[in-house]
Symmetry: C2
C-alpha cells in the first residue's frame, strides 16, 4: 500500500430539492457579487436558470454563458477572468456539467493571478489565491464537483490540458439528480463511459487493496446497471441518483487511496482526440478503452484483467486466464456498444490522417511513459489505429 496525503474540503449537498432548500443560505456565505457561468440553453429549458436568478435576487449577478463541451481557453476562460477582474466578483456559481465547472475553475484562479492564466493551466506558475466556487451539477460524468482538477482546451495549439490546483476544490457542490432527467441518451452514455474510465484507469494498476477493488468494482457494476436504466427511463430517480454519486467520486482519489499511481492512459490519449476533433469526451474514451486493454494485456497484467472479468462481469473463474481477460475486454466493448456509443473513430469523424501527429502530441505531453504499462509514441499510434 502506498503513502498518501488526502483532503477534500468540498461540501456535497445531494438530493431532490436541495437547491431550493439551501442555495440562498450557502451563497450568503460568500458575498454579493456573483458570476453565474453556464453553457447553452439547457438550464433555461429546464427552468433552473430562472430558479437560480429568483433564489439569488438579492445578489448582483454577472453572467458568462456559452461555455462549450471541451471548454475553451479563448474565449470562455479569458472572458470569465475579465468579468471577474473588472467587477471584483466574490463567488462563481457554475451551473451545468463538468465543462462549465472546469472552465469556472480556470477562471477562479486566473482572476486572482496577474499574468496570463495559461501559465497556471500549464504549470508555468502556481496560484496563491482563487475566487470561491459553488456549483449545481446537471450532468453525471466528470466528477469535477468533487475534485480540484479541470481540463481546458486551446484551439490555436491543439492543447487539451488536464491540471490540478488545490485552490480549485468547489466550496459547495449541489447535486440534484432530477436535473439530470433531461440529459439525452447520448450524453448519459458518454457520462457513464467517462465515469467508468475514471474508475478503470485507477483500477488497472499493480498494487491495489481488497477495499479499493471492491469499491471500484461496485462503482463499475453500478454505473453499468444504472446507466442502462437511465437510458431506458430518463426519469428513474434512483438510477439517476446512484449514477450521479458514482460519477462524483470519479477523480477524487477516494476510489483508490493507497493504490499505486496508474497514469491516466485513456484520458491522456483521448485529450488529443477531442482537442484535434472536438468529439464527445466520453465517446472518445469508450472507443479507445477496449483497444488499450488489448494492447496492454500481457503476463504482467493478465491477473488484473481476470479479477476485473470475474468480479465486474461475473465471468466464470474456472477458465484459462487469457480467455477470461479477453472475455472481459470484449464485455467492456459490448457494454459501451449496448448503450449506444459509436465504437470506431471513423464513426465520430476521425480518420488516419492525423494519427501520427496526435500520437506525437500525446507522447510529448501526457507522461504516459510513467503509466502502469508505459506507452511509447508507437504504442499510442497503434492504439489509435486499432480504434479506427
Amino acid at each position: 500500500m502506498q503513502n498518501f496525503d488526502y483532503q477534500t474540503p468540498t461540501r456535497l449537498i445531494f438530493g431532490k430539492g436541495v437547491v431550493d432548500e439551501k442555495l440562498s443560505e450557502v451563497m450568503n456565505m460568500f458575498g454579493k457579487k456573483v458570476l453565474l457561468t453556464y453553457g447553452g440553453g439547457s438550464i433555461k429549458k429546464m427552468g433552473l436558470y430562472d430558479k437560480v436568478k429568483e433564489l439569488l435576487k438579492d445578489k448582483d449577478i454577472y453572467e458568462l454563458s456559452g461555455i462549450q463541451p471541451n471548454p475553451k481557453y479563448d474565449p470562455s476562460v479569458l472572458d470569465g477572468v475579465k468579468i471577474c477582474k473588472e467587477n471584483d466578483i466574490d463567488v462563481i456559481l457554475a451551473v451545468g456539467g463538468g465543462s462549465v465547472l472546469d472552465c469556472s475553475k480556470a477562471i477562479a484562479t486566473g482572476a486572482k493571478y496577474e499574468g496570463d492564466p495559461w501559465d497556471l493551466i500549464s504549470y508555468k506558475a502556481f496560484a496563491t489565491n482563487s475566487i470561491p466556487i459553488v456549483d449545481i451539477i446537471t450532468l453525471a460524468a466528470t466528477g469535477s464537483e468533487y475534485d480540484a482538477g479541470g481540463v481546458i482546451s486551446r484551439t490555436d495549439t491543439n492543447d487539451k490540458i488536464g491540471y490540478v490546483d488545490l485552490h480549485n476544490f468547489p466550496r459547495v457542490s449541489f447535486l440534484d439528480p432530477t436535473y439530470t432527467f433531461s440529459v439525452s441518451k447520448k450524453q448519459t452514455a458518454a457520462g457513464c463511459a467517462d465515469a467508468m474510465n475514471h474508475i478503470m484507469e485507477q483500477y488497472f494498476t499493480g498494487d491495489s487493496t481488497l477495499l479499493n477493488d471492491g469499491f471500484m468494482e461496485a462503482g463499475l457494476k453500478s454505473l453499468m446497471i444504472n446507466a442502462k436504466k437511465c437510458i431506458e427511463n430518463p426519469k428513474d430517480y434512483t438510477a439517476r441518483a446512484e449514477m450521479m454519486l458514482c460519477c462524483t467520486y470519479g477523480c477524487n482519489q477516494i476510489y483508490a487511496l493507497g493504490s499505486s499511481y496508474s497514469g491516466w492512459p485513456c484520458h491522456g490519449m483521448e485529450h488529443a482526440l477531442s482537442a484535434y476533433y472536438d468529439i464527445t469526451h466520453g465517446e472518445g474514451l469508450a472507443i479507445i478503452t477496449p483497444r488499450w486493454m488489448k494492447h496492454i494485456l500481457s503476463e504482467k497484467t493478465v491477473e488484473r484483467f481476470v479479477k476485473y472479468g470475474v468480479n465486474v462481469f461475473g465471468i466464470d473463474a474456472g477458465q484459462d486466464k487469457y480467455d477470461i481477460a479477453n472475455q472481459a475486454i470484449d464485455a467492456t466493448y459490448k457494454f459501451f456498444e449496448t448503450i449506444g456509443i459509436p465504437m470506431h473513430l471513423k464513426d465520430v469523424g476521425i480518420d488516419e490522417s492525423r494519427i501520427d501527429e496526435m500520437a506525437h502530441h500525446v507522447a510529448e505531453n501526457e507522461g504516459l511513459d510513467k503509466a502502469w504499462v508505459p506507452l511509447s509514441e508507437k504504442d499510442i499510434a497503434d492504439i489509435f489505429r486499432a480504434s479506427l
Copy 2:
C-alpha cells in the same frame, strides 16, 4: 436514495514515515502552545513519545496522560479543559487510539465553552468554537480520526454518550500503520470488531445502493482477512495498512452516503455494557452483534441477510433464504470466535444482575426505537440475555 449534506474537512496523511516527514510542518500551522494527550505507556514504549517531543522541540508542550479506554469525563476531559483554559493552548495533539482522540475532542470544544463541558456532550448547549486537533493514531479501530464524533463515559451516572460536533473534525490525522505493529492480539481483534460493526450497522438498513453495498462488503471482507493476518503476523505492513484504512472510513458516512439511517443498535446497546462494566468496547460489540442479528431476522430483513451472506461470506445463493441468513449470522459469530474474542457476556464479567437496569438505560438514551428494526426495552433485555 436519501438526501445528504456531507463534508469532511480532515486531511489524512497516511503511510510509513509520515510523522517524521510532516508533523513539524503541520504543527507549525497551528501555533506554539501544544497540549499533548495520550493514554498509558505504550507510546513511550514504542518510542513515539520521544519522537514527537523531538519533532516539536520548538513548541511549548503541556501534557495530559492517563486517558483510559472508554475515556472518562472526570478526570480526563475536565483536566484537559483546565490545562487548555489556564495556558491558552493553541492546538491539541492526540497520540493514541480512538479513546485518546475522543477525549481530546471533548476537551477541544469544552475549553472554548464557558459552562460545564458536559452540556456540549449531552446536547444541552452547542459549541461555537474549538481548539484545533491533530492526531497520530496508534490503533486501527474507531475511525475517530476521520469523523466529528466522540464517546465519553461518566462513571457517576453510568452514562456513555456518543455525540457529534462538527467543530471536532481533526484538522490533520497522521496514520502510520507501523505504529500499530505493537497492538496486542486482543486489541487487534477488538478493533476489527468495532470497525466491522461500524459497517454492519450502516449495512443493515432498508435502502442502500449497489455502490454502498459493494464498498461496505469489501470493507467487511478486507477487515476479516486482514485482521487475521495482523494477528498471525503483527508486523505485516500491508495487512495493518489496509485494516487501518477500513477502520478510518468507519463512522465518516462515506461507506453509506445516501443510504437510509439505520440507527446504531449494537453501539447503543454496548455503550451500556462498557459504561456499567468498563469492558473492551469491541468485545462487547462482537458479543451482542450475532444475537442482535438473530433477534431482528424476519420477513422484513431476511433479504438483506441473504445479500450479506452471499456477498460477504460467499454462502451458496441457491438455498432457502432463512438458511442463508442463519448461516451468515453463524459465520459472523464464528469469525469473531476465530480471532479470539470471548463470545459470552459472562466471559467478560457480566452476569444477569444488572441487565434490566442496563436495558432501561439504553431504551431511555439511545433512540433505538428509531432504528431500522426498532428495539424496545424488552427487545434490548432479550438481546442482552441471549448474549449471556
